[in-house]
């Protein structure tokens, strides 16, 4: 198991000048980073649902394009596991991945073979196994050799339309949650509220950044990397639609935006982080491997490992340099999670 090595000596830093700008930083992040992402997700998901209503052929360009745009919007927001996305497991309903035991294809296969009537409405469909909902389930229906052609054609079409409609409802619920309360909750911390201080709000945002980086390094890259003796290219995220590498890029772009907003006016740290992100993004671009198939060949595998190392280096800088500015301790045990 690969773990980022973290400095043991990062101490709680007093919030100095940073506190003066804390509320401005929070507002910038909500208005400039969070809300636009969920607005795009809601809009693109509506478009996906509308497109699926018109054309449910898995090979349709229009459908696949709408799917790709909505999935892009999700990946760009997927690190924001805060508040409205966690209510009623909405984030899981959009994105059940990783699926280590193949629950998604198995559940979809059963729905298709039984023509389960639960797929006749998005409202009912919200009750099915969470593994059969969301973007990863839809990918199987649009791109998996077996599942894109499985079952009765009319039922298959309905399933695509229902999953798309369910995605649209979930995305719109998350946006509504932010617009109708949660943005205010974060903007106005109070003694009785979810967040008692601006420091707590910033720490929540910081956590979204660090867990997002960890997920991209350990899971988006770590799953296909497997071990040297046993690389697992078929475990790459969304490989059927050829989106694995694209997701790493989208997530890094989103995480860079958040990191720089959290950094505020610390020019030196901004520059350090910008260089780190640019380097990782440059490495992915020069790899030129959309599904990380190269993990199987020792010569090319090392390039994927280097990208992972670069993301770990971002995490290390974020923990050691940005964390203390936000009053986040990097304790040996606090970070352990066991």
């Amino acid at each position: 198991m690969r773990r980022t090595i973290l400095a043991l000596t990062v101490l709680m830093a007093p919030l100095g000048a940073f506190a003066d700008t804390a509320s401005a930083t929070i507002k910038d992040i909500i208005d400039g980073h969070i809300l636009p992402r969920f607005e795009t997700l809601a809009a693109q998901s509506q478009l996906l649902a509308a497109t699926a209503e018109q054309d449910c052929d898995p090979t349709s360009d229009a459908l696949r394009t709408a799917y790709g745009a909505a999935f892009d919007a999700w990946v760009s927001a997927s690190h924001l596991r805060i508040g409205p996305s966690e209510v009623n497991d909405r984030a899981f309903a959009l994105a059940f991945w990783p699926d280590s035991r193949g629950t998604t294809p198995r559940t979809l296969g059963a729905l298709l073979s039984e023509q389960d009537p639960i797929a006749s409405s998005a409202t009912d469909y919200a009750e099915v196994s969470i593994a059969a909902r969301g973007f990863y389930a839809l990918e199987f229906l649009l791109y998996d050799d077996a599942l894109m052609a499985a079952g009765d054609a009319t039922y298959h079409c309905q399933l695509i339309q229902t999953i798309s409609a369910d995605i649209a409802v979930t995305a719109s619920d998350i946006l509504a949650g932010w617009q109708d309360g949660y943005a205010d909750t974060m903007l106005n911390p109070s003694e009785a509220g979810t967040y008692r201080s601006e420091e707590e709000v910033l720490q929540e945002m910081f956590k979204a950044l660090t867990t997002g980086l960890e997920f991209t390094a350990d899971t988006r890259l770590g799953r296909p990397l497997g071990t040297f003796d046993r690389p697992r290219p078929t475990r790459a995220e969304a490989r059927r639609s050829g989106r694995s590498s694209r997701h790493v890029v989208l997530s890094l772009n989103a995480l860079q935006d958040l990191a720089l907003l959290l950094t505020g006016d610390d020019a030196a740290l901004s520059e350090t982080l910008t260089n780190r992100f640019d380097r990782a993004l440059q490495q992915i671009e020069s790899l030129g491997d959309p599904v990380f198939a190269s993990v199987s060949e020792p010569k090319t595998r090392v390039k994927v490992e280097i990208i992972q190392t670069s993301i770990d280096a971002i995490s290390a800088d974020v923990s050691a340099q940005l964390g203390p500015k936000l009053g986040v301790t990097a304790g040996f045990n606090a970070l352990d999670g066991d």
């Binding site: 043991l8 979810t194 899971t219």
Partner: protein, 359 residues
């Protein structure tokens, strides 16, 4: 130790001739009161024996970061587990510092970092993940025969973490944390929406009782255990849900319902949803829990179920009942004891890892 006297050598020779070997005991390694894994300033890892005066009696090298350990009830021998999802554990002879055996998890299993011995020390039990099935297992190892694996039992749930033995009997209690993970996804939690933690009591391979939380608390992962003198099981939880949680500490006894320990909303909140370690006093009256994320130690009255005291200590995690008080450790090197007889504070340059394990 000085040269052995002629008389003692003759005595030993006599024992050898008679077929008796005087076995070393924990006294031979300086009477440690407890064990803890740690990271040294140079980044290497050790398993330490620590005396009741909080002095480090030995520091033996470990091949990787440890989590918890299990101390053999009689022999000066400790099993140190790699942290989750490690696939090995090392048995260390605390007299020589040498590895006596290495436990390799069987194919398709990994350890969770905790283990417990049978009362006579002949068997070691380890919590494990059967990760293809997503099912918790208890590995059974023959500690009398070079730690050969001899059996495997169901843990009664998913994601078993801590395991302890009830006093005066061979019943094991397992904290099935409920969280499904698979090594191919690192530590990513795969089943948060559907997780169902429980406490399971296991006797000779059979689950004799399980205790679960009420349904609205199903995202409270039961992780760490401390067993009191009457077989009462105190447990610490880690909240995986969104928003505030009512309680992070509970107490259970075979045949009875779970009781949750309560504090004010603020007190619960200070633990940041995360109990790292738990201990129960020798008389069973007081439960101590730590939160490294909150940097807080809290004490509960096991009878009333109410919070009685708390303190702050940065990156505190390890906690252990010691004498009539509690010892705690931190990732920043502190070892502290507070009891009726007073307080001891020691600052070391070791980063003390999660747990203190009683010898």
């Amino acid at each position: 130790m000085g040269a052995m006297s002629t008389g003692r050598r003759r005595f030993l020779g006599g024992l050898l001739a008679a077929g008796f070997m005087p076995m070393p005991t924990w006294a031979d390694v300086g009477h440690p009161a407890f064990l803890s894994a740690a990271a040294k300033p140079d980044g290497s890892y050790v398993l330490c024996g620590i005396g009741a005066d909080l002095s480090v009696r030995f520091a033996l090298p470990l091949p990787a970061r440890g989590h918890a350990a299990a101390a053999h009830p009689h022999r000066p021998e400790a099993v140190a587990f790699a942290r989750r999802p490690g696939t090995f554990a090392v048995v260390i002879d605390c007299v020589t510092g040498q590895q006596k055996a290495v436990l390799d998890a069987p194919a398709g299993r990994h350890f969770y970092g905790h283990g417990a011995f049978s009362s006579d020390g002949s068997l070691l039990y380890t919590t494990e993940n059967d990760y293809e099935a997503g099912r918790g297992r208890i590995g059974v190892w023959d500690a009398a025969q070079g730690y050969e694996r001899i059996s495997e039992w169901d843990s009664g749930g998913v994601g078993p973490h801590d395991i302890k033995r009830l006093p005066g009997r061979e019943t094991l209690v397992v904290a099935n944390g409920g969280i499904d993970t698979h090594p191919d996804s690192g530590r990513t939690k795969l089943n948060i929406p559907t997780m169902q933690p429980n406490l399971a009591y296991v006797e000779n391979g059979h689950v004799i009782e399980t205790a679960a939380l009420r349904p609205d608390m199903h995202r409270n992962s039961i992780r760490h255990l401390a067993v009191g003198p009457g077989g009462e099981v105190a447990f610490g939880m880690q909240w995986q849900g969104d928003g505030p949680v009512d309680a992070l500490v509970g107490l259970h006894q075979l045949g009875a319902p779970i009781r949750l320990m309560s504090g004010s909303t603020d007190d619960v909140r200070r633990m940041d949803g995360y109990i790292g370690s738990i201990a129960i006093a020798a008389d069973g009256r007081t439960i101590a829990v730590t939160s490294p994320r909150g940097g807080v130690v809290q004490y509960f009255d096991a009878i009333t179920g109410q919070l009685t005291d708390s303190g702050t200590l940065e990156d505190v995690c390890g906690v252990l009942a010691l004498g009539d008080g509690f010892a705690v450790s931190t990732g920043f090197g502190a070892l502290q004891y507070r009891g009726g007889g007073g307080a001891i504070r020691v600052q070391t340059d070791f980063a003390w890892d999660n747990h203190l394990v009683s010898v």
